[in-house]
Amino acid sequence: MKLTADKKLDLSEVLEDLESYRPRRKGWTWRKGIENQEIGAFVYKDTSENLSHCVPLTSAHAFGDIDPQCDMVITTEIASGNFEDDLRRMRMAAWHGADHIMVIRTTGQSHIDGLIEGTPEGIGGIPITRKQVRATRKALDAIEDEVGRPINFHSYVSGVAGPEVAVLFAEEGMNGAHQDPQYNVLYRGVNMHRSFVDAAEAKTLMADAAILQLDGAHNANATAKEAWKVTPELFVQHAINTAYSRAVGMPAELIALSTVPPTAPPAPKLRLDLPYAVALRELFEGYKFRAQQNTRYIEADTHEASVTHVLDTLISRLTSADIQSTITPDEGRNIPWHYNNVAGVNTARQTLMGIDGITQLLELKQDGVLREQARELKERAVLFLEEILEGGGYYAAVAAGQFVDQGYYPERKGDGIVRDPEAGDGAGSVIPRAADYGAPVCGHFGASLYHRRDGKPCAEYGGCTLCDPTKIQYIDELDAEDNVDMRLKQTLADERQGLLRPEVEKHGDGIVCVTLFVPESPQVAEAAALEMARRMGLKDPEVISRRLMHPSEGSVFEIKGVLDVAIRVADLKLPAREAPLPESEIEAWVRGRDIHLVAATVGEDEHSVGLHEILDIKHGGIEKYGFHCHVLGTSVPVERVIDAAQEENARAVLISTIVSHGNVHAQHMRRLHQIARQRKLRQRLVLIAGGTQVTHELARRCGLDGGFGRGTTGQDVASFLVHKLRDQRID
């Protein structure tokens, strides 16, 4: 399967021949760091290999469209409910720099005793099945070829079917997975004995397949009211899973700690979060760190969330992180929309580019408050461990509510999570192994007759599926109604008819988001905003963000609703876009003709960057083709521009007009045309305007020959000039 930039991902092709698909590799892939990498005009300190296809940051336009890739793996979490929609989201995220795709499981999969098969629809995630894992990995193979960097695929080994899910992941080449028995115990109500016994088998399988393990400690941050107070316990949770993993044979390089800076502004975030991050990295030296952005304090304001995430990412760079996980800025208000996956990835990407090399300029002060606080946190964690042992061990400690108590340990509020060791999902299902217990397979943990010094445990029957993948039993679908083929009927019908609908989450869901400021008190303003959305034709409008600007002056609302409109692509009138003339042809025509141009930023406007980019030889501007450019500067009256055109006997005038308050840019354009006409120069002069709010159509309506907006190059303008001047037959 091969992807090209101008074609959508073909889902039918993804679903073809899945029964014979095999993953191309097993195990996790890190980025390849490059020291002192020259990219564009800069030398970067903390970057890795460039991508072959990407969408750079928008500001990259001013820096030669470079897209430096940081040295950390960047994660995006995906949870739409339909895996076929997730694939497109993954492709978009990969083009923006994500190389770790974490697929959230559907609600309730933790409690399903066994594997799910086929492609049923999920809620808040997808049911993880062999077919979905396989199809996703197949699509990711094609996406990683397209962007030129390996992509790690990741999901969860938790719940009461952990060992089976781990087998599935090992067989299907999953690259990373969450595995932490404490998560089952504390948050999923799974029986403790079952959870830990299952975990040993799951971890052995993961180690065997070189799957990177993430733990579940960060969930305590998300649960606690005052997340910065659970920090001593977080060390304990990380340590229990880490030590347990090591004891069952998982190597240190496959163990990643999932850590979140616990606070968000207006809390004094870095002062609280940095000592914690430092202490964690000291206690767990030799392990990997997956730094997650904060979700605990995200509300509906995506901008505010992004700023918190910038600070989180700064902490990652000032301490260390092997993986920078991103959180979609809209997580606080809806199931993440696909373009917000991209927004989250971009927050990390932009921050890490911006602070590249910062550790060469700054280091954390090692005397004073940082050291004192780091030490105190470690001591509190040691006291926590002492109490676990005094109380009779891990199970007893959970039964006594020692975990996820809101107190700053050893303070206890008495509100910890309490679980009975003999109760919960799967209670009573743990069976002592008899002396003749045997499991004739690889990746098995614990006592077994088949553990041999020589030869594999599966030798007696020709090898297990981990040694001979042809033995894997592939089930396509179990449900004739709830499956991808049924869901695709609508999608494919739309595609065949050439119909387009807006979407944010699933294919053609019709959801749009409008921003409205209403100048009234909050309650009145909100009712009015909803009514306005209804009158715009939005079905089921719902306020997803409300921000008070002033109690009586007004509030701004973001409202989502369904725009039940399908656009027929064939009916669209697209503005004709001509390719510019080749550079050699432009130059051949211009040189020797002695063509003079006059250029200026007009009105009360001091912007000059855009104009210089179009004109200057050093920016690749039109001078290089042999035009003689007379630049008059900024804030030049339009009359003065025409005066200069007369003096220089110019053939063209280029005005730049950036400020657009009160439509002043349009007035300048009209005026330029009128004055040229009054002086009988209009036939002779090619009149062009440029600026961020300028379009070709607007310039034409104002009487000019052409207009150029964002993204214009010198070549575009030169090509246009040559066309126009040729038509005037000047020689």
Binding site: D113, G114, L115, E117, R130, V160, P163, E164, V167, H193, F196, V197, D198, A200, E201, A239, I240, A243, E282, R375, E376, K378, V382, L383, L385, E386, I388, L389, G393, Y394, A400, G401, Q402, D405, P410, E411, R412, G414, G416, V418, G426, I431, R433, A434, D436, Y437, G438, A439, P440, G446, A447, S448, Y450, E460, Y461, C464, T465, K471, Q473, I475
Partner: protein
Amino acid sequence: MSLVERPDDFETRRKHLSSLSDDELQARFWELVGKIVSPLVEEARTHTTPSIERSVLLRMGFSSVEAKALVHRLNERGLLAHGAGRLILELALKKKIPLREAGEALVQGRYLNEVAP
């Protein structure tokens, strides 16, 4: 059960830690963690679960649907302590039939009485 409520008595509790160097504190941290996980690991080494047994059967080439049925049947007979994979492999060897055939027969309810540790 009423849970412990306790003010922050860190300053009094930490006294025995105050003389430890950072390295000693770190060593103590990991020593205590080791003591906490060691009985958990021992339990895992000597116990099994239906999910582990199904995961063994998946690796032996059975589908998730077959593995579920097989483990259910063997668990009903109290045989999981011997290992589902081992029992089916032994049955195949005894009957001189391929492994998958032995499993399929058990799913259909045949040979159940011949499965024994």
